[in-house]
Symmetry: C2
Subunit: 319 residues, 2 copies
């Protein structure tokens, strides 16, 4: 246990996860932090450094490299965070700043690209040449594998499935576009649908939760749906059908062997995925729709952290 | 001129183009055929064999290989045409049947994949690592280049940009889906918009053409728009804006360096592309939208034939 180790960090819109990632992708010494409200870019970087140091101390091993998955378009050549919707990281020279502060080599990529790397190496997309990943959280993260490698595009911006327009005059998205898949399929969208149901149907589970002063969120919708609440099941299934329209586009554009779906919303499991699979079976092109498997992530919420660890291993030459 | 040669054939929904393709992608001895109405699969293959033979006789050179671009999902491993919307080629073992009938090695791929191969080798996508192509004809053909190679996906079905849903409850598409980009942006869609205008505005150029007994087509819309007819310009610009929504999705999904637009509809040139570019500049993600160039094909209507010739050259080891 005295060999060197790498740490993977998955930074989300509202939380961060860090841990030592072993070559077999086991994770040890996990650290979880909620985002501090209203933090600026310096404070966010401080929080990341502290989390890494806490893991390092717990591990008591030499630190070879650190990998980060961040919810931003990342220029993988320069390690600079380009745009980011949910965090104050725009134009931050993330890789160089963190390498200087941590004193070890640092790798950085988009969080969903890190997640698909992990799922492709040992998870739900293992053994495939062509794969897509969507993580349904606050927004949608996305990744693409072609010929067994993660696709970055010209600026690290490839795989933003969540910002495909599926309603040309649909609701305004945080990105400035309209009718993006993310506005109709995500944890935030599920929360909005649940709040509408709470208002329109005061006798429903949502309505009662609201009267009891509970916050009506996407997570509550998933919880009530698991408890068998019919309105909550409808809300989840309805989002599943929109997910199916988005995945129809993924199938027609990429013809993947597998689409891996992760993020917090996937806690709804087949209540979400079955309606999506049915829409794909009806609407996507043949033979692509018969070929594709639509499955949850193997590593669940840890995909991004595990994938960030992989980036660090590649950088440090560990395997 | 006595060295061996290859022939490239581009089979469209309503016409075919064939010619000798030289290593510098010059085309000689072109043959053009309109589709015979109501033909079956045997008749279609006969027509292809005749066209190749006519080119071969005109060239008077040894034939090394023939390449075909066909408007079908093609399994490039087996050379079998999978589904095809516009032609009777479903499940035809195209490569083996044509090789036997022509007595030379045959290569086959989707027509748009052939076109993007040509545009990538020497045309509008030359020198790029990540590129997309859309050919706007009867329908939309599409192709993808990643890391400098054409992406086929699991079954040869990748790149079907035309069958991305951009209106989740939009008009029924020939593929069975709803709201596909192809229903809103294509030669057929332009013809439909022109016929609507002819009916609603009898005093417009379209209305007068209709009264004069002319057929109202997408090509007429382009012609009138070039003549400065304001209604025709509106119809073309309106389609350009829908094109922009589709291209926004292409930018967000792939982050390409270039999107090459071809097919008959591109005859409208910047009257179509400028509104599309404006929508992409407003709606697509940064920095991807600033990076992408949206340009017409270099080889115009010949992209597919030239690309089919490239497939044949690769097969015959000519370069």
């Amino acid at each position: 246990m005295s060999a060197g180790c790498v740490i993977g960090v998955d930074l989300g819109g509202t939380k961060l996860l860090a841990g030592v990632v072993e070559p077999d992708l086991e994770v040890r010494h996990r650290v979880f932090r909620l985002a501090r409200e209203g933090r600026g870019s310096e404070e966010l970087l401080d929080q990341l450094v502290e989390a890494v140091q806490e893991v390092q101390v717990a591990a008591g091993r030499e630190l070879l490299a650190v990998g980060f998955g961040i919810p931003s378009l990342v220029d993988v050549q320069t390690g600079v965070a380009a745009t980011t919707v949910h965090l104050p990281l725009r134009d931050v020279a993330f890789r160089d700043v963190m390498a200087e502060r941590l004193g070890v080599p640092v790798a950085v990529d988009n969080d969903a690209n890190a997640a698909i790397a992990a799922e492709h190496r040992f998870g739900a997309a293992k053994g495939t040449q062509t794969a897509a990943l969507l993580t349904l959280g606050t927004g949608i993260g996305g990744g693409i594998v072609v010929d067994g490698s993660v696709v970055h595009g010209a600026n690290g911006g490839a795989g933003e499935w969540g910002h495909m327009v599926i309603e040309s005059d649909g609701p305004l998205c945080t990105c400035g576009n309209r009718g993006c898949m993310e506005m109709l399929v995500s944890g935030s969208a599920l929360g909005r649908a649940a709040r509408r149901a709470a208002e329109e149907l005061p006798d429903s589970g949502f309505g009662r939760a609201r009267s009891a002063g509970r916050e009506i969120t996407g997570a509550l919708a998933t919880e009530l749906a698991h408890d068998g609440d019919p309105v909550a099941r409808d809300v989840v299934a309805s989002m599943g059908r929109y997910l199916g329209i988005g995945l129809t586009n993924v199938v027609n554009v990429l013809n993947p062997e597998v689409i891996v779906v992760g993020g917090g919303v996937i806690a709804a499991g087949d209540m979400l995925l079955e309606p999506a699979r049915r829409v794909v079976a009806e609407r996507a092109l043949l033979p692509s729709r018969d070929r594709v498997r639509i499955v949850p992530t193997r590593y669940g919420d840890a995909s991004g952290m595990v994938g960030a660890g992989l980036l660090a291993m590649d950088l440090a030459g560990v395997s």
